[in-house]
């Protein structure tokens, strides 16, 4: 294949990765930014989203788009509810202590994973895409559904940004992030904001998973890669920075697509990890993060 089409394919693949990664990492970043909780179980909420998408889309007969749309709405809601319960039962009781919540979320990771293994099973199960249109380029074919993931993700990112910057809820969240004690003094129910943010973070991961599952199948171990990549993105972009997260996701996604296509996937991972190390050494707050107060 010639260089031009080859690069185009690499960029398309990279953008799909970026789109999903941006949503997942945004959830992780939001939870850390507002709550100062490093949610190690984030990838499992991603996995739950995919597994629920399978369950919902198989329960609904008829055109595959119906099942998929139902999954896109219901799966994130269920995952959000589970996250909310986990937050109330576990994180709140630990007073959001940074060390204890890391250990607690590691525990949640294993509990969720094993429950998925017990009730869903070890198989990778497919979810039918809402439409299967194959875009025929002169050099290769490409899945139209994959392109729609990029569009859907961009749309969701804009909506999240609008909510955070233009609405009262966003203002409350930003106030809590900026200084939770002062926010509380001004009558903001910080406790409830924490619950809401944790659920929202999990829902973003679940939405990303529902979008990706028609091209990559639901499997109980699928949360590991997104967790690792999300951490990489969040560290590079700056914990708690929405803009940084999106920029870093596009950067990591595109470089992963291009490097792994022209060289090797292992090299792409090596470079991403090296980038994390460099950022941690030279700019610990991340590219767009603000230094801790």
């Amino acid at each position: 294949m010639h260089f031009g089409p080859h690069l185009l394919l690499a960029a398309l693949e990279g953008l799909v990765t970026s789109a999903v990664l941006a949503l997942t990492a945004l959830g992780l970043s939001l939870v850390f930014g507002v709550m100062r909780v490093v949610n190690v179980a984030h990838g499992e909420f991603f996995m739950l989203g995919a597994v629920l998408a399978w369950a919902i889309s198989t329960a609904i007969s008829g055109h595959p788009a119906l099942g998929f749309l139902a999954a896109l709405v219901i799966a994130p809601l269920i995952v959000g509810a589970i996250a909310l319960v986990a937050e109330r039962l576990v994180l709140r009781r630990l007073n959001y202590n940074p060390e204890a919540t890391i250990v607690a979320t590691i525990g949640m990771l294993y509990i969720i994973q094993q429950l998925a293994l017990t009730f869903y099973g070890p198989e990778a199960r497919p979810v039918e895409p809402p439409f299967s249109y194959r875009i025929l380029l002169p050099w290769f074919g490409y899945s139209g559904y994959k392109l729609s993931i990029i569009a859907a993700s961009a749309l969701l990112l804009i909506v999240t940004w609008l909510v955070l910057t233009r609405t009262r809820i966003g203002l409350i969240m930003r106030a809590t992030q900026y200084d939770s004690e002062t926010a509380q003094a001004f009558g903001i129910p910080v406790d409830r904001v924490y619950g809401g943010v944790f659920a929202l973070g999990a829902m973003l991961a679940a939405i990303a998973a529902v979008l990706i599952v028609p091209i990559s199948q639901a499997h109980y171990l699928m949360g590991q890669d997104p967790l690792l990549l999300s951490f990489i993105v969040v560290i590079i972009g700056g914990l708690g920075s929405l803009r940084g997260t999106v920029v870093a996701a596009v950067l990591i996604g595109l470089s992963d697509g291009i490097i792994s296509m022209f060289f090797s996937p292992t090299l792409a991972k090596i470079i991403a990890t090296l980038l994390v190390a460099m950022v941690l050494v030279f700019r610990p707050q991340g590219l767009f993060g603000t230094a801790s107060r």
Partner: protein, 434 residues
């Protein structure tokens, strides 16, 4: 970051009389639990214990589940017919997480804790290679159902056997003439980047060359990869045949993305069924596989000329004519590999009877009795077909099936002969000390 609530302050935990008593009670409870029962007349009536190293979790989990089903069916049949040397067979399952490190631990656990008579049932080649040294150290006969060439390469040790499934080198050698004659001469290989894939990488090129065909590109993909489109530009445009063998949970994605990339304008496809084990070939997005060919160890779909033994085996394991679980058409089996569990257990039975096996002290005798075996006739104990066994390299050789995807089913179009897959032994395990 102060540890305000003392979550990590170990000094706070003191041993009170109450917790000490609780611990004692729990220990006593364990001692009287069913697993702890001692057999008074140990060897005469105690069951023969087979340690099953199962891929219950990890990337091999779909195989693990079907290996367990097949093993349970075979053990049920063996026990119903009187067991081995008049003793019932008991299977003890430990999960190895499809991980070589865990695999070695599991073998150690079988040897020292469960004190099983043998260890059996491993599929993934990196787990076999990782576990084999532990089997050797514990002098524990280790019967794998792995398909890899590692046993026959004689690079493992005298305690490792593969008597139930043909190894990859032999499979490739016996099918290469068909590929060169019917599919095409310029072949691109796609294989998983670990031991099992390397068998394909190493043995296909010489086998094809002998038939006047050649491998023009080799693409290795990490076994945990979840997206594959990025690898496809490496396939040279002059490729006539794509030879694919993939494993793990993302196999369906692999085949689907291959379809999206090529559409109907594709090269010929020749795949190992591993690329689609436990996956319905009628899944959406797989239509483009129509007309392509697959290697099958034992056919997934019931064939018109199935033997009575094959029919009985399918019924015993509980798979329907489409190779899915009876009652659940979506639960597709790993038919190409799992027959090996059934056949291996019957080989163990035969060898234990030949050796007059009584208990772990006879393990060396069992090894020698297994090495003395030469052939297994087709029948209820070997439903996949007849096999020969080479005791020097601990490997069996059987027939292979090449199947064509036609109308949403796999139809066997060619069966190889045992002689097609025989090769020079690369060593001799029997010269190693026991």
């Amino acid at each position: 970051m102060a540890d305000k609530n003392g979550f990590f302050d170990l000094s706070k935990t003191t041993l009170t009389r109450r917790t000490a008593l609780k611990g004692l009670a729990a220990g006593a409870g364990l001692a009287v639990a069913p697993g702890f029962v001692r057999y008074s007349q140990a060897q005469s009536s105690a069951p023969i214990k087979i340690g099953f190293q199962s891929h219950r979790t990890g990337i091999g989990a779909a195989y693990g589940r079907w290996y367990e089903k097949t093993t349970a069916a075979a053990v049920k049949a063996i026990n119903a017919a009187g067991g081995i040397n008049g003793r019932q067979v008991e299977v003890i399952i430990e999960d190895d997480g499809t991980d070589p490190g865990r695999g070695a631990e599991v073998v150690g656990k079988f040897a020292t804790q469960h004190k099983t008579d043998i260890v059996f049932g491993t599929l993934f080649s990196h787990v076999v290679i990782g576990s084999a040294p532990a089997a050797g150290e514990n002098k524990m006969p280790y019967f794998v159902v792995s398909e890899g060439h590692h046993v026959a390469s004689t690079k493992l040790n005298r305690y490792v056997f593969q008597p139930g499934i043909t190894d990859v080198k032999s499979q490739i050698q016996s099918m290469a003439p068909w590929i060169a004659a019917n599919a095409g001469k310029k072949v691109t290989q796609i294989f998983p980047d670990f031991a099992f894939g390397y068998d394909h990488r190493d043995y296909l090129p010489p086998a094809l060359k002998a038939q006047g065909a050649e491998v023009i590109a080799q693409i290795a993909i990490p076994p945990t990869e979840s997206s594959f489109t990025k690898y496809f530009p490496q396939i040279p445009p002059e490729t006539e045949v794509i030879y694919h063998v993939m494993v793990g949970p993302a196999v369906l994605t692999f085949v689907k993305e291959l379809g999206e990339f090529y559409g109907s304008n594709r090269p010929q496809l020749f795949g190992f069924m591993d690329s689609l084990e436990a996956t319905d070939i009628n899944s959406p997005g797989l239509e483009f596989l129509d007309g392509s060919h697959f290697w099958e160890g034992s056919p997934r779909y019931a064939q018109a000329d199935d033997s009575a033994a094959q029919k009985a085996y399918r019924a015993a394991v509980g798979i329907d004519d489409n190779g899915a679980a009876v009652g659940d058409p979506k639960d597709v089996s790993t038919a190409s590999h799992m027959f090996g569990c059934w056949e291996t257990l019957y080989v163990v039975k035969k060898a234990m009877e030949d050796a007059g096996y009584k208990g772990p002290e006879d393990r060396a005798k069992l090894v020698e009795a297994t090495e003395a075996l030469t052939a297994f006739a087709e029948g209820p104990e070997h439903p996949q077909g007849p096999k020969t066994f080479n005791g020097k390299i601990h490997q069996c050789f059987g027939i292979q099936n090449i199947s064509k995807v036609e109308g949403g089913k796999l139809k066997v179009v060619h069966k190889t002969k045992i002689e097609d897959g025989l090769y020079e032994a690369e060593g001799d395990y029997t010269k190693q000390a026991l």
